[in-house]
Symmetry: C2
């Protein structure tokens, strides 16, 4: 909830990654995992930079340009994409504070449209949702989640739905969110 | 940077896209082209946001969070990626002010490594270079450019090399940089 207008007064943060939005711990876990994949040359998947609208920049003499006024912008795509085993990979990751349901407002409508669009062009697309209090992280294929959301007449997805339709991502020390293991199983017909 | 007659430093810009670095006109042309591809549902290819390191954010009551201190960061990947005809697409675009050669420092070494890496994983990867004074825009496949750069014992690529090894992208009003036409020819064996 850090980056949108909510009337809350807060003036500084120590960690840069926290600005991107909610779900900082999950984001860090995924970044670690992506770095591991990259180091092992298994996949090339990156988080996109947080989109900002830059309004003012100062150019102090002899030092780096300093942005002095900028605003967070709604992302028009998902946060993560890249390539794995010749396939285009695209996903969004969200933490969820509730233990009973995942509020749909966590994922913007244009992100759903984006996932739907890349799917049609041949992507492997999915959403990673972590229920922070339960410490459970689920992989949900976009082709499963999108039709469900479109037919939904409520504003949240019950936790049980993730248990029934998602694939739990087991924690692993070196790759905290080893989602490619699920990708291998689902899209490359591999066991383990 | 430009100072106003009153000695004040110029601190604001009207266009957001100009902050990403050089090559604004080319960037706008590519963005227009990508929007066209997206509208036609031909491909889903986006420019990544300009990476910035955010240092300070203010949260004024009842209004949007305001970033008051941030710095431009070197990108760790290329600027553009997405999906087209089931393939992962990845490219960098650069304007070149010289009419005789393209300085290698325009492309960061980690961007070359990134292109090399996605190529090995099955991407269609390339560089778009526009010689602004000549108003000519070339598509150069990464698999052609990378070995050439690695063997090069100078710090720039002569213009003639682009004429001999690149594919000129003809200007088109609705898709100013219609690079997918070249992609079709080179990677999908199609004539036009």
């Amino acid at each position: 909830m850090v980056n949108y207008p909510n009337g809350k007064k807060m003036t500084s943060h120590t960690s840069v990654t926290s600005f991107g939005g909610r779900g900082m711990a999950l984001e860090e876990d995924i970044n670690l995992t992506n770095t591991y994949y990259l180091d092992m040359d298994r996949a090339v998947i990156h988080k996109k930079p947080t989109p900002v609208t830059i309004v003012k920049v100062d150019y102090p003499r002899r030092s780096a340009a300093k942005i002095t006024e900028a605003y967070f912008k709604l992302p028009s795509t998902t946060d993560y994409n890249g390539i794995y085993r010749n396939k285009y990979i695209d996903f969004e990751a969200k933490e969820c504070a509730s233990s009973t349901s995942f509020p749909l407002k966590s994922i913007h409508e244009h992100q759903i449209r984006h996932l739907d669009s890349v799917l049609r062009h041949g992507a492997i697309a999915f959403v990673i949702v972590r229920f922070t209090k339960l410490n459970r992280t689920f992989f949900v294929p976009a082709e499963v989640m999108i039709p469900y959301i479109q037919a939904l007449d409520r504003r949240s997805i019950p936790y049980e739905w993730f248990e029934a339709n998602g694939y739990e991502i087991a924690y692993n020390y070196v790759k905290p969110v080893d989602y490619l293991r699920i990708v291998d199983q689902l899209y490359f017909q591999e066991n383990k």
